[in-house]
């Protein structure tokens, strides 16, 4: 008997082959139709696009089990990137979007990229929040004040981070950002490469708000300061833990910019000398920038019914704590206004998120907002990085 090769071993006639091919094609077509109808409701599916933390298993696994839902979560790398992905058509992909406060009210809702929440269901949840976030919270509402655009949970002040063994909190508060731009601070700090945050804080360091339209003279001042900031840095990194490690091992003293969450893991690990400090000198006496994340439901044509459930789930006291202390990033949450949530924190955990000075720090911060001159300011920043004299 002649040996057959692998392909020849399929000993079908052409007619049998055609029959089988037709049957396979038919079943594939049928299954695709079925899956489309099965997924139409998307009752067991939820896609979340979020900042790190909400995508942790600590937050998502209990939801997956309780709601028997397949949750896919993707961390985002920048707010504008996420906004543009929704603009480019990814509203069909995502159910939940979690961004810094300004985007929902300024761009997502006016551009019909998110849908308002059911106020009857969600308004009572706002009883849990800290006084400064009380209903109707500015960033959670539409411009006309009629629609609830999302729920606010994690928040934090942002200024600079320093090793307080080397330079005191009071010195940084009183001398302001100028310390980082002084010649004798050369090589003693790292720049945390979250581009928009570097830009915002450097504008503050230059004495003007990044949220105003800047004059040519102000932009020229900003450019000079940016080149100095970048050239004098010991290193530039988008890894907050690498920067914290540098402060722990003494190779640097500070980080520009720095937020509570970029240093809270190191603090929780026993390095209480690392601290986020908000300078007192700056425009409008609010030289820091605070961020509040707004979590909204996307204007997905087939929005998962689990999306609203997830937002509600995130307001359960134990989940608030899990969101607050998700892997690798520890933040205050607005629901710390509720005694049940506060009772879940240990003293060490509160120390890690600098709860002792949280009110004072937040009072020194402007709310994060859209930067009108962002393209120009970012170009200057990128050029300074590229032309860096390391």
């Amino acid at each position: 008997m002649k040996r057959k090769n692998l392909l020849q071993s399929f000993s079908q006639s052409r007619r049998e082959f055609l029959h089988m091919s037709a049957a396979i094609a038919g079943s594939i077509a049928a299954s695709s139709t079925m899956s489309r109808s099965a997924f139409a409701a998307r009752e067991n599916e939820l896609n979340i696009y979020c900042w790190e933390g909400y995508n942790s298993d600590k937050v998502l696994d209990p939801f997956r089990k309780e709601f028997k839902t397949n949750v896919k979560a993707q961390g985002l790398i920048s707010d504008p990137d996420a906004v543009n992905k929704l603009r480019a058509g990814e509203t069909k992909v995502w159910d939940i979007i979690n961004l810094n406060n300004a985007w929902g009210r300024r761009q997502l809702f006016p551009e019909n990229l998110i849908v308002p929440l059911d106020q009857a269901r969600f308004k009572p949840k706002w009883d849990m929040v800290l006084p400064e976030f009380k209903w109707p919270y500015y960033w959670a509402m539409s411009n006309d004040g009629k629609n609830l655009l999302g729920m606010v949970q994690r928040f934090g002040p942002s200024g600079v981070n320093v090793n307080t063994d080397k330079i005191s909190r009071e010195t940084v508060q009183n001398d302001g950002y100028e310390i980082f731009l002084a010649d004798d601070f050369k090589g003693k700090y790292a720049v945390l490469m979250y581009d928009d945050w570097v830009i915002m804080h450097l504008c503050m360091a230059c004495g003007f708000s990044p949220f105003d339209n800047l004059s040519d003279a102000q932009i020229a001042t900003y450019e000079t300061a940016m080149r100095k900031l970048i050239n004098n840095a010991a290193f530039l990194s988008d890894d907050m833990n690498a920067i914290a490690l540098g402060m722990v091992n003494g190779s640097i003293i500070g980080s520009f910019p720095g937020s509570t969450y970029t240093v809270s893991a190191a603090r929780f690990d026993g390095n209480a000398n690392l601290r986020c400090v908000i300078p007192k000198k700056g425009p409008n006496n609010k030289p820091g920038v605070c961020w509040m994340e707004l979590t909204s439901t996307v204007n997905n044509p087939e929005l998962s019914p689990r999306a609203a459930d997830f937002l509600e789930y995130c307001y359960r006291p134990e989940v608030c704590k899990n969101v607050s202390f998700a892997e690798g990033t520890y933040n205050p949450v607005t629901q710390m206004g509720d005694k049940r949530v506060m009772a879940l924190y240990s003293k060490e955990e509160l120390d890690a998120i600098q709860f002792d000075t949280l009110d004072e720090d937040m009072a020194l911060c402007s709310d994060f907002d859209i930067i009108p001159n962002y393209p120009k300011l970012h170009e200057i920043f990128a050029t300074a990085v590229r032309e860096r004299k390391a």
């Binding site: 504008p80 490469m193 003494g250 190779s251 590229r386």
Partner: protein, 309 residues
């Protein structure tokens, strides 16, 4: 114009008339071949999958800055802006570091590959396994491992301090650290093609050279290296292109001491949200890498390597 077309142009008119339809007919017959028909859907899918995104990037490169639509009036503004600004620094840094990576990898890999093929015999496969094993771990994780090794107070400086009292500062965040990361990550991409190249050198050829009185150096220069050249060129090309397009090493180990072109491209697509400029940078990089690949591949006989000659 090719020689064949020259010949066709010079041929008498009746002959051209006869030849032209026969070519078309043979092309038609080729398209009707069952193999071609069966492969057509997959070929179309591959064309769409590979060329589609590339084409989109090319189209975006000619769109006005800051737009997210490809239906705008085409412009060369992005390229003008790139030339007018300091992006050449990123291109030069990428090309320079990639070239250095190739040279270092060559110097390290050739002796190792030679030993694996000619000296270690069967034990060479154990070494190959050891070199291949790290490839199963993601690049950034391996680089994070090196961060812990090289950072101040890390494995190296901590050990030197504890055992010998020698204080060593961080060895990270320099262009040297970036180069180290590039060599570490892309070394296997140089090693295995060179192993293949050295394996292609017939032992009899070397023995004949020795019998004719050649010294070891002469055998290396006249026999080993020239005959292993296809592997060396493929390894160099792969290493160069991968290193030139890298960004993690410069970011994680280098602390942005140098800006690679891939970092500029990512910045334009990410924080800057200027997809057209990012696309224009990507197109320039693709052209550069493509020109290099074509030049190198012209010198390599792939048929010989794959045993078809």
């Amino acid at each position: 114009m090719s020689r064949a077309s020259d010949f066709a142009a010079e041929a008498p008119a009746p002959l051209r008339a006869i030849r032209a339809p026969s070519r078309l007919a043979s092309l038609g017959r080729w398209f009707a071949e069952p193999g071609v028909v069966a492969a057509a859907p997959l070929a179309l899918l591959m064309l769409g999958g590979f060329l589609g995104p590339l084409l989109l990037v090319v189209v975006f490169a000619f769109m006005p800055g800051g737009t997210f639509s490809i239906l705008q009036v085409p412009t060369l503004a992005n390229f003008v802006e790139i030339v007018a600004n300091s992006y050449y620094l990123s291109f030069l840094a990428s090309l320079w570091l990639a070239a250095l990576t190739v040279v270092i990898c060559l110097v390290v890999c050739y002796p190792v590959a030679f030993a694996m093929v000619r000296v270690f015999g069967r034990h060479g496969s154990i070494l190959a396994l050891l070199i291949t094993a790290p490839l199963f771990v993601a690049d950034n994780l391996r680089l994070m491992g090196w961060v812990l090794f090289l950072v101040k107070g890390g494995v190296v400086s901590g050990s030197l301090q504890t055992w010998f009292g020698i204080e060593v500062d961080s060895m990270l965040y320099t262009s040297g650290a970036t180069l180290f990361g590039l060599v570490y990550i892309y070394l296997p991409f140089m090693l295995f093609p060179i192993i293949m190249g050295i394996s292609m050198v017939p032992e009899q050829m070397r023995e004949a050279a020795f019998d004719l009185g050649a010294t070891r150096f002469q055998v290396l220069r006249e026999v080993d290296v020239p005959l292993a050249m296809p592997g060396i060129l493929i390894g160099s090309l792969m290493t160069f292109i991968l290193a030139a397009g890298s960004l993690t090493e410069a970011r994680t180990l280098g602390g942005n001491a140098v800006t690679m072109i891939a970092m500029d491209i990512q910045k334009e697509f990410g924080f800057a949200q200027n997809w057209p400029k990012g696309s224009a940078l990507a197109v320039l990089m693709i052209l550069l890498a493509g020109a290099l690949a074509v030049t190198a591949l012209k010198r390599i006989d792939l048929d010989l390597i794959f045993g078809r000659k």
